[in-house]
């Protein structure tokens, strides 16, 4: 059974249709990436899936007792609220101190436990949120543009961490991003969203799809080339003509 099964989701905000006829099912252990331009409803879709928003039409079925590890786009903590990293990791449920240490190490921020959340850099903050998300032993990890505000090496490192986490705990991963090349290389399935689902499939299928090319234009040519280069070695060679075409 799917972890989450969303069918024919329609969501309007202020009279404007943000999502229309979106259906999406997530299977255990897969990495799915949602790409799409700004305002295409990516974050809205994620918030519908976690239950923060109720769609006007359609249904969202979550597996009984599904544990979601959610890493939001950004989190603003009011400066009047003092909170250490360790305390943050213990929300909403207390965790074993050794587990907390281990999660921080897995997320690449070992030893930051006693720091105030307000003293962390952007990258550290995102990694601490990742640590908190994996501490709940999630069936699915959801990341909403989790690398916003990180530089390119930083976000590449962050996504490598995600892959490592997936390997370690075997959870499914659903991420939203606009950084196509980095994200796509790690995905089992890519969903191209622009209010509705334009196209979906393996990264190869999507990046070759006309709807995708139309959305992202020629500006991403370099990025796509980079992606294919990354994966040259891992795939059947009948993709080579794409490769050459992109270069």
């Amino acid at each position: 059974m799917s972890l989450i099964d969303a069918r024919h989701i329609e969501f309007s905000h202020g009279g404007q249709k943000v999502l229309q006829g979106v259906s999406l099912a997530l299977e255990p252990g897969e990495i799915v990436t949602i790409v799409g331009p700004n305002g295409s409803g990516k974050s809205t879709l994620l918030r519908v899936l976690i239950g923060a928003l109720n769609p006007q039409k359609g249904s969202v079925k979550r597996q009984e007792g599904l544990r979601i590890g959610y890493v939001p786009q950004k989190l603003h903590i009011d400066p009047t609220l003092p909170i250490t990293v360790n305390r943050f990791l213990n929300l909403p449920h207390p965790v074993d101190p050794d587990d907390a240490k281990e999660a921080l190490r897995t997320a690449g921020v070992a030893g930051l436990g006693t720091r105030q959340m307000s003293q962390l850099s952007g990258g550290q903050f995102q990694r601490v949120m990742l640590a908190r998300a994996i501490l709940g032993k999630p069936d699915i990890l959801m990341l909403d543009e989790a690398t916003q505000g990180l530089d390119q090496p930083g976000s590449a490192a962050f996504y490598r961490q995600i892959e490592a986490v997936r390997r370690d705990i075997g959870c499914a991963v659903l991420m939203v991003s606009h950084e196509l090349h980095v994200v796509m290389s790690a995905s089992d399935r890519v969903i191209c969203l622009n209010g509705h689902i334009c196209c979906e499939g393996t990264p190869e299928v999507v990046s070759a799809a006309p709807a995708y090319r139309e959305l992202f234009g020629t500006g991403t040519g370099g990025a796509l080339a980079l992606y294919r280069h990354d994966h040259d070695h891992g795939h059947d060679h009948d993709h080579h003509h794409h490769h050459e075409a992109a270069e």
């Binding site: 003092p82 909170i83 943050f88 909403p92």
Partner: protein, 265 residues
């Protein structure tokens, strides 16, 4: 011991300060100060209604504060301009309450007692209400602590963890109404918000976790209540405002010493 009106006053102040100290942290973290004002100002209307219908003041204040809190909770979920709306509601409730009190036939009402508190006239019955209500507030916060804290950090994180942040907010709203009902006798409708936010704000600089801030805030509230009462007796001033003066002084010392320490390092 309870025969001494000063002992009763001290106990009333301490009980109120404990409940307001913890709840005040959430008021500060969630920026609900104006929300607190609106709820507290509605209490004056509650006094008027209680006198009109001959019921107990606590009941009248509690019911009207609750109604106001639920009204604001409902309106805020519809995405209205919350700040302006709270301003309108807060001052409209206060004005209507002030007018209504003076219109009640056959009574000369001592308004000052409700606006600024009258802790020296606290009865054993009042004490029972204050400590009962205070205990209820602290117990509810204890019970909901993790969920409320998560919802305060981020509603989406709460949803993802299976917590309904709207429900937590509603609980906070109800607790705020309870504190208003409890505190009106001690500091009065106009200064309840001060008792909520000043101790919490003073505690902020010296706390590293939310829990430490809550305990520190309680401690500062209790200290303000006891010292304020003592000073009011010595200088023969009204007690409620003196309690807030002490709290404000502690806040100033906290803020200044924190700045000095930061500059020093």
């Amino acid at each position: 011991m309870l025969d001494d009106f000063l002992v009763r006053a001290a106990l009333a102040g301490v009980g109120t300060a404990i409940a307001a100290g913890v709840l005040g942290c959430f008021v500060v973290w969630r920026r609900m100060a104006y929300f607190g004002d609106a709820t507290a100002h509605a209490a004056v209307l509650g006094v008027a209604l209680a006198l009109l219908f001959g019921t107990s003041i606590t009941l009248g204040v509690g019911v009207v504060a609750l109604a106001m809190a639920v009204l604001i909770h409902g309106l805020s979920s519809q995405g209205a301009a919350v700040d302006t709306m709270l301003g309108v509601l807060a001052h409209a409730a206060l004005a209507i309450g002030l007018v209504a009190v003076t219109l009640i036939p056959g009574q000369r009402v001592d308004l000052d007692a409700y606006l600024f508190g009258d802790v020296l006239s606290v009865t054993r019955g009042d004490l029972a209400v204050i400590w009962g209500g205070g205990a209820l507030v602290v117990a509810a916060l204890w019970w909901h602590w993790s969920a409320m804290l998560t919802a305060t950090l981020s509603p989406d994180l709460a949803y993802a963890a299976g917590i309904n942040p709207r429900r937590e907010q509603l609980v906070l709203t109800l607790l705020l109404a309870a504190v208003v009902a409890v505190a009106i006798k001690v500091v009065g409708a106009l200064l309840i918000t001060a008792l909520l936010i000043i101790p919490a704000a003073a505690a902020r600089n010296y706390a590293s976790t939310p829990e430490r801030m809550a305990f520190l805030s309680m401690g500062i509230g209790v200290l303000s209540a006891v010292a304020g009462l003592r000073l009011a007796v010595i200088f023969d001033t009204s007690v409620g405002p003196m309690i807030i003066c002490v709290a404000a002084t502690i806040f100033a010392i906290s803020a200044i010493s924190f700045q000095l320490r930061r500059v020093g390092t």
